[in-house]
């Protein structure tokens, strides 16, 4: 089980901010979310969306430990 966090516009598209999802890799996790909500699935694969696992940006899908925190970060706007 991974804890998924959405930020910025992704949160508005999904209508939620945080959700537990059963997945062993980021790819599995995205597939599960896309099955539920195709618009969210498209947005997660949108330009500039980064993935942080346990608060670290990951370029590759390294697999998820149990209870990993997976955050989808759309392009950051600065403060």
């Amino acid at each position: 089980m991974a804890k998924v966090l959405l930020f910025g516009p992704l949160r508005d598209i999904a209508g939620w901010r945080e959700k537990d999802v059963r997945a062993n890799t980021v790819a599995e996790l995205k597939a599960a979310l896309t099955a539920e909500d195709a618009a969210l699935g498209a947005a997660l694969n949108g330009k500039g969306v980064q993935v942080a696992i346990d608060q670290r940006i990951m370029r590759n899908d390294t697999g998820l430990r149990a209870n990993a925190e997976v955050a989808f970060l759309p392009p950051m706007s600065g403060g």
Binding site: F7, G8, D12, Q55, A71, L73, M76, S77, G78, G79
Partner: protein, 148 residues
């Protein structure tokens, strides 16, 4: 080195008083305060979202880079999150260095990062609804000055 997000208003004067107190070995302190312009009451409420922990961590990483690059004695970054009223301070940066050039450049560098690349997501709430904001072309040009 102080890096903090806060969801309540702050007074930049109080922060500078705190930052400068007893700092007898520093030649130069520069501060930057960014304010949400009120635009004569026409301005919209700004909402800043951060990723708690991650956002401070990323800011701390850049702050550490600035500390080394500009030989800083100390620095402080205080950033508002949540809904910010027009006219309220959004960000406060302070840098302390031996000489003024380093203190100025470090504050400038930190602000370019904070305004264009820091992990915040910014939304404007107005009468016409809500709108997510991206960095401006000028923000991108500003931050590019420090590369290479």
């Amino acid at each position: 080195m102080t890096i903090a997000l806060q969801d309540t208003p702050f007074d930049p004067g109080v922060l500078l008083a705190f930052f400068s107190r007893g700092r007898t070995e520093t030649g130069a302190i520069v501060t930057f305060t960014g304010i949400a312009r009120a635009d004569g009451g026409k301005s919209e409420v700004l909402e800043l979202e951060a990723y708690p922990g991650f956002t401070e961590g990323e800011i701390r990483r850049i702050a550490e880079e600035a500390r080394v690059r500009f030989s800083l004695h100390d620095l402080m970054v205080i950033h508002r999150v949540g809904k910010i009223k027009p006219g309220a301070p959004i960000v406060f940066v302070a840098t302390a260095a031996g000489h003024r050039r380093e203190a100025f450049e470090a504050a400038d560098f930190l602000m370019d990062y904070l305004k264009s690349k820091a992990p915040f997501w910014k939304k404007e709430h107005g009468p016409a609804g809500e709108k997510w904001i991206e960095p401006t072309e000028r923000d991108h040009a500003d931050v590019a000055r420090w590369d290479g």
